[in-house]
Symmetry: C2
Subunit: 303 residues, 2 copies
Amino acid sequence: MTTEDNDFSNGTAYVDGQIVPVSEAKISVLDWGFLHSDATYDVVHVWEGNFFRLDDHIDRFFNGMDKFHLSISYGKDEVKSILIDCVRKSKLRDAYVEIICTRGMPKPGSRDPRNCTNRFIAFAIPFVWIACPEKQAEGLSLVISDIQRISPLAVDPTIKNYHWLDLVMALFQAYDQGSETAVVVDGAGNIVEGPGFNFFVVKGNTIVTPDRGMLEGITRKTVIELVSANSHEMQQRPLAAEEARSADEVFITSTAGGIMPVTKIDGKKIGDGLPGPVTMKLRASYWKLHRNEAYRLAIDYGQ
Amino acid sequence: MTTEDNDFSNGTAYVDGQIVPVSEAKISVLDWGFLHSDATYDVVHVWEGNFFRLDDHIDRFFNGMDKFHLSISYGKDEVKSILIDCVRKSKLRDAYVEIICTRGMPKPGSRDPRNCTNRFIAFAIPFVWIACPEKQAEGLSLVISDIQRISPLAVDPTIKNYHWLDLVMALFQAYDQGSETAVVVDGAGNIVEGPGFNFFVVKGNTIVTPDRGMLEGITRKTVIELVSANSHEMQQRPLAAEEARSADEVFITSTAGGIMPVTKIDGKKIGDGLPGPVTMKLRASYWKLHRNEAYRLAIDYGQ
């Protein structure tokens, strides 16, 4: 197949040093990134032709590799160049861009992860929404699952990882109850996070988000910065399920969609059952921030 | 590439309905089996041209799929036929055979696992030893890590899954301490399991193995059955780290190697520091069982 035959419209991937259509991007079934979920990753988005907070994502990715004893032959600037190339070639103006480092394969017969050559993979696909803009207009329906998030005493949740079976099983619980998504809890029953998102509640003049047991999302960080610049008090601390049920407003945050209102928990309305004013104001500020030079990196699409 | 060009000597894989050399067996980077470790699997071994306890492994695999809301278009007999074909084509007399079901890919833009077509993959590679026979002659050196195994309240450990980062990080701790492998603990500090193996201690007339928080291995099951036929008392219950340190003998069990003696824990000798007589007797019985018609399925290699 020649480059001219390739269809990059569904996205591109960087695998084995080459950019290919994402449909052709594959990893060996013997890679421990698959067989032991022994990998770290990060997701950054491109909006209207600009990366958003790319350096923050790349810093977290490199930090995660260090902690998992993973390393790649590229420096941060090289990863940045690869991502720009992937998006440029995809022509996507709004994209979901994932960078991955897997353990790789041990030598035949060996089970020693130190013998593996770690692998770097990246891909850019059309922007993914946890909740599409139409759904955001009415707000999400969410359940508080009794499934516990994998404990930080087992796997460090601040290193972005693919251990999601707790989250996926919670999603199936949500569907069974007629809801769209779920959050899971810690051993004390406090809410920690959902599949790919952080969780926030608004009560009076206070905004609360969990401070432990979950990924420290870049969108979460952005919200914390935005709140500090607003009139609300930001609290990062354990968050009881009951506080969510009795909140004025609830929202979730993710690179896959930004700030998204939750209007029902366990089938019951939050407040008046409509996306709240604090949520919507933060959401507007979040998207406005995408035009701020300090947060964006423009992609030269060459046309 | 024609079939004649293929080199099956390193193993075979069944992917997309075809048997290919394992080096060519790949999955899409977009499969949730990779991106969310949303998969279950099982490993069965072939010894001297016979599968060992194949039905037990296939039963556990199908049970795991049910619990994870996964399904494949093959029945148990079809999976069995595929595995026989994989091993026959590989010509391997001693093989490590893995069967996998992944969630697959959601539709573009969707994050709903119900929209995925689940995928079936299998591969057969040369037999893998957690500890090679030479190493087994002296016994393994193991550390008791302070890392906790992922809790059953997060992910059901009786469904074989790829959430191994706790186990892999424990392996790195073991290497740092000059040992070869590690076990991880539960929230109460009791030993649960290691990377791919169950854990047993012998003290006087009693053999103890953990009863919760870990995979219920088929080799573990075989040992429990063998002990019952012996003069020892078998106890399945929580196992404190201190009981392991003061045991007469310690051994681990896995499809990847059978019954393997541990002679050092945290750098200190167990008993006299040599593989113990109960362990070695059980190991001999285990391998002898491989010639028992009730446990084996002979492969017709066609030559």
